[in-house]
Subunit: 705 residues, 2 copies
């Protein structure tokens, strides 16, 4: 081609000199047009150009229109009953179009173009999130006229996935969740918390963790309830300054949750959101559906009379003589008693579960004497076998312990009494060995029951394996609580996870001898209310006055502050059980008098009601101790009250919880109320300000229908 071009150029230069200017202005490039084009008439060309241009305009318009329609489609949402699904999350509105609940898909948006809705409009299925395959669905159903529920399920198909959905927490007050060290009612979240495993823990030692009593259940004052499915490897995180503040976070990576054996290790975040016509209705529906009711009630003794523990008084210095003298004093000062509980360090090493012959030279004689005096006796037990206990050797030989991840060696943990292996209750042989130890104590000494201490997952090794794998580590707490169930009536546990059906008293974690919300007197009502809402009605408050732990006590370190002790005692008298350790006679005559007054008031006033409510809860699952909103579900003030509570629906208690106070504000919800000193209040709802309550008084009100 170059050749013919050059020849042609030379021809032009030689023969047609007059064209040289044009040649210089325009560089010539070889073309290759078909010969036929030359035959087109010159007049047709402009016409064709115009037609082509017109055609182009039409195509452009069509494309623009298509694009516009597609964009419109992209912006679309789905409506499933009252739920509106967007790519970034969903809203649930009430019939008045007010937002009740808002959830954001924080880990990844859903691709709405991959979604399909069924004909009835009750279900939407989506298959993609960005470029990733997911299996997402929302399904609405109405179990009752007053209740609508939505099942939300997000299943991944990629390893190491993380799914995070965050609730708009500021919408209403929230209740439920878990026991915490600083307990508020309603729940307060503050600061930023990275998602952490939602598993049982000892909040006495890990103050910012989740407690030993924990359920995957939250309800809000807007009558919305959320229950996360058991199959979810659930972590909870929050950011109080963010709108989407409270996050449900599912992952297996760097998590103690493990996929169930034989199951694909794909993360799933699935939960149910239900809305109801009011807070009480929605809670009762959810509790009925998701919690099992207690089968029977614990012993009437435990409700009626105080339990006397050796712990706060003697700590690990307990011995035969001290127990005997303690019992003598209880009788001497004419107190009633459910039972005496002999706590930590009656044994020579942790794992023996028997009396130390040095500290208890004649345990049989002691127990016989106590029985003769009418005392029932319980013993403190735990799931640990310390390395220096003879049981440790037996445990290793028989694989009774939680093992390291290899499954070859027992894994150690550190608890408050040293280094130990943990009994692996997924192994029936371990449970059998442990129960035989307890049976021996029962048959040899007549021990009637036990205080089952610990059991939280925070006392499991950081990495471990068990005889039967634990997909959710909190199932360890459940197994431990189930062992306690054989000794209920007078037993106590301090863990609760899916174990509402067990007829055991559940103890809140050890209290410090302080006034405040962090494990102090003020935390009692929020904790009791939370436990009740989580389905645990048989609540054992910790020892009256707290445990007097060093540096964790308001006042002197020997016994609790006198006033704190009195107020604590007064509050305890109205709770499902009452627990003494530091005895009232360590103070003075007045304290003794107040103690007698309130133990008697408990028996005469509280017990008839309490025992009826305990019986009732085996049928309804309703809490015995109830928040004010139980009788005023839409009362915005009642929703926030955390210093008053109801015993059933008709007895309201408003104890003094502040140091140096002999008066307090008391909120009376709608109804006719008669105060403890006989005054009638029927202009309600109403806030009684500076209502006088003397040191030897608790304000309580009877609701007259």
């Amino acid at each position: 081609m170059l050749h013919s071009y050059r020849r042609d150029q030379l021809q032009r230069r030689a023969g047609r000199g007059e064209n040289s200017q044009v040649d210089a202005m325009y560089q010539v490039v070889p073309g290759n047009l078909p010969a036929a084009r030359e035959k087109q008439s010159k007049e047709v060309k402009p016409l064709i150009c115009t037609i082509l241009l017109g055609l182009l305009l039409v195509i452009a318009a069509v494309v623009a229109w298509c694009y516009y329609t597609a964009s419109l489609k992209k912006l679309n949402s789905f409506k499933i009953d009252q739920l509106e699904l967007y790519k970034d999350g969903f809203f649930i509105k009430n019939t008045a179009n007010m937002v009740l609940f808002e959830m954001g898909f924080k880990s990844a948006p859903i691709d709405l173009e991959s979604c399909f809705q069924d004909e009835a409009g009750n279900e939407v299925n989506c298959t993609k999130s960005g470029e990733e395959k997911v299996d997402f669905f929302v399904k609405a159903f109405k179990p009752k006229d007053t209740i609508t529920c939505y099942n939300i399920e997000w299943k991944t198909v990629i390893l190491d996935s993380v799914v995070e959905h965050c609730m708009h927490w500021a919408d209403g007050h929230w209740y439920g969740g878990a026991e915490t060290s600083t307990q508020h009612w309603p729940i307060k979240i503050s600061g930023v918390m990275d998602p952490k495993p939602y598993v049982t823990g000892d909040v006495y030692s890990i103050r910012d963790g989740f407690g030993g009593i924990l359920e995957r259940y939250w309800i809000s004052s807007k009558s919305v309830a959320v229950r996360v499915n058991d199959s979810v490897p659930l972590h909870i995180g929050w950011n109080s300054s963010d709108k989407e503040a409270f996050c449900l976070h599912a992952r297996y990576k760097d998590s103690p949750f493990q996929p169930t054996t034989g199951q694909q290790p794909f993360v799933e975040l699935s939960y149910q959101v239900c809305i109801g016509s009011d807070l009480k209705i929605i809670h009762r529906y959810m509790a009925k559906k998701h919690f099992r009711k207690p089968e029977i009630t614990p012993s009437e003794f435990m409700f009626r009379y105080p339990k006397w523990s050796t712990w706060a008084l003697f700590k690990t210095e307990v011995n035969q003589d001290k127990v005997l003298r303690y019992a003598e004093k209880i009788k001497k000062y004419q107190f009633n008693f459910s039972h005496i509980e002999i706590d930590d360090q009656y044994s020579s090493s942790y794992g023996e579960f028997n009396f130390d012959p040095v500290k208890f030279p004649n345990a049989s004689e002691l127990l016989q004497k106590l029985r003769d005096d009418g005392f029932q006796v319980t013993l403190w037990v735990h799931p640990f076998v310390n390395y220096n206990s003879p049981s440790f050797i037996k445990g290793v030989e028989n694989s009774y312990f939680v093992m390291d991840p290899s499954g070859r060696f027992p894994a150690f943990v550190e608890w408050w009494n040293g280094i130990a292996a943990v009994l692996d209750f997924t192994n029936p042989e371990t449970t059998d060995w442990f129960q035989k130890k307890l049976e021996y104590l029962r048959s040899k000494y007549g021990i009637v029951s036990f205080k089952f201490d610990a059991g939280e997952t925070s006392y499991l090794p950081a990495k471990f394996s068990t005889h039967k794998p634990l997909s959710d580590p909190s199932l360890f707490s459940k197994l431990y609580a189930k062992i306690a169930a054989s000794y209920c009536m007078l037993a106590e546990v301090r863990v609760g996870y899916h174990t509402q059906n067990l007829p055991c008293f559940v103890r809140m974690i050890d209290r410090d001898s302080v006034w405040g919300y962090e494990l102090g007197l003020k935390s009692l009502i929020p904790t009791v209310l939370t436990m009740g809402i989580l389905g645990y009605p048989f609540i054992l408050p910790d020892m009256i006055g707290g445990n007097v732990y060093p540096n964790k006590t308001d006042g002197l370190d020997e016994i609790p502050d006198r006033e704190l002790y009195i107020r604590w005692l007064e509050l305890s008298a109205f709770l499902p059980a009452m627990q003494f350790s530091i005895p009232p006679w360590l103070y003075d005559e007045e304290v003794l008098k107040i103690a007698h007054k309130f133990t008697q008031l408990r028996e005469s006033l509280v017990m008839p009601l309490m025992l009826r409510l305990a019986e009732e809860t085996t049928k309804t699952g309703n809490p015995i101790i109830r928040p004010l909103w139980w009788i005023a579900p839409n009362d915005k003030v009642a929703q926030k009250v955390d210093t008053q509570f109801l015993i059933g629906d008709y007895l309201m208690v408003a104890p003094i919880l502040e140091k140096g106070k002999e008066a307090r504000d008391i909120y009376l919800p709608d109804g006719k109320w008669q105060s403890f000193n006989g005054d009638l209040f029927d202009k309600t709802p109403n806030l009684l300000t500076d209502f006088a309550v003397d040191l030897d008084e608790v304000a309580y009100f009877i609701r007259m229908i």
Copy 2:
């Protein structure tokens, strides 16, 4: 511009119709030449074109030349003395230009353009490998006239790096490295082995691992020696079908090696390659430079007389009565003895290091009786404390044990006697406790020394932490061996890592009662030669006839095969120590006679020489037992002989190692040799075929200068 073009085209079409064909053939593109160009005369144009074309050709030529030169530079290599460095590795050639050694940079090539050579040409530094920064250097130096060394160092600056250099293994025969279960001389590698940590291990239980005696040192028959620096997190891998077969692999990731505290965690692969004028010269130079010489010799007793162990005979069924009767029989059958060693399970639990009062009701009396009869007694010890030993509790309380990675809990291991914690000898308090235990045995019972068993890193937990961090886990073996050193003279250890200076006998790992190369009779000479080349001259072969472990025995399981026992005994008589457990009197008169013959021959013939060589090695570091090439370094046949050995330079031993044979081939290297039955051989080198050796004979030859 489009406008002027169209106008021009129309002009041409209208006024010069004859040009339309040309126009159709050539599409016209607008140019923008300056108006001045129009004034150039038509004659100048071709000239300018020609000049421009010429210029273009010149530029092209220059570019091509530059590119060619650059390519040449890229292909270039550096020459550092006899080492040629290429981007993919290096060669070392001898003066006759024959390749002696070849190393490939398997992990990444070096960027030769980043290299600089010093003026003298002895050193090359490079800074890049691909796009990554590295610090690489090669430095040559001549420590002696006959020796040239090269220091090679490859330092990375990126975390989790891996550096791998692979040797061309087929070049020559290689010796050194580590004890292995199937031991060959020279080393045989087969199949593919992914790089694994080059650390001490128990090759009795992990048959394809590296043994308890291990150094980072290899020499080849081409007079090349390689010593890898201690700072390298060394792993060794191989691929026998590859040219670059034997790989030095440095990494921290997924490795028990850890960066030294305070050191950047960057991987370094550094080593020294030295070439010498012959194999013996290069080995002696390297040994002198890299191994410390034994400071003194162990007890003469241990060389001269057999040691008698309870192990293979009684196993863990040992007791006071059995030991006493064993000692009586040794005397009755008129055998000499260095000492009696009481092995495994003299104690009630592992960690007590004391006599079990049930099995040894009167240990003091036993020891007194043995002493009265002239016996010295040693005891078996180990670095383990089993979970069920009372010492376990003491150890946990005092942090005597190797801990889990958190450093909070002792880490368990499983050894052949159960589950145990491992004494952490990086903790001076642990060492002190252990030594006090041994001192007690010494002072209370008159125990003279100990058999220090185990000590390999394979008995450390998979993940662990120690009081003082161990950057190289084999340093644990070193620490353990150092403890043994206080009890040397009659002590034995079975680990060796940088501990050639200790005056202890080093025992090869337990042998099976089999004929073959895998821990059998045939493995003895390769193992002894390897230990010698690694700098350990005081070698304790395992028990005569092997340990008679069930299913690991050629013949019946009760005592070793008679012929195997005899041949093993005969070979042992020529090694630095002799160890009985299964006694000759369990067989018959002939075996007893052979045993007496060889224990006597040992004392009369071997000992004068052996003791002189032992003394000599404290000055030279030379092995006592030497390979044939020690006196014939360039003899290609001698380099491969693994069934004969030299005691010093003048006594050569050629035992029978095959079942049913009473003759064997014997290679005589250059020299004048007189056989054990008096025949003289001076036509050498020579292979004597089918040389007769009766059942009660060992062929040995004296080299007459």
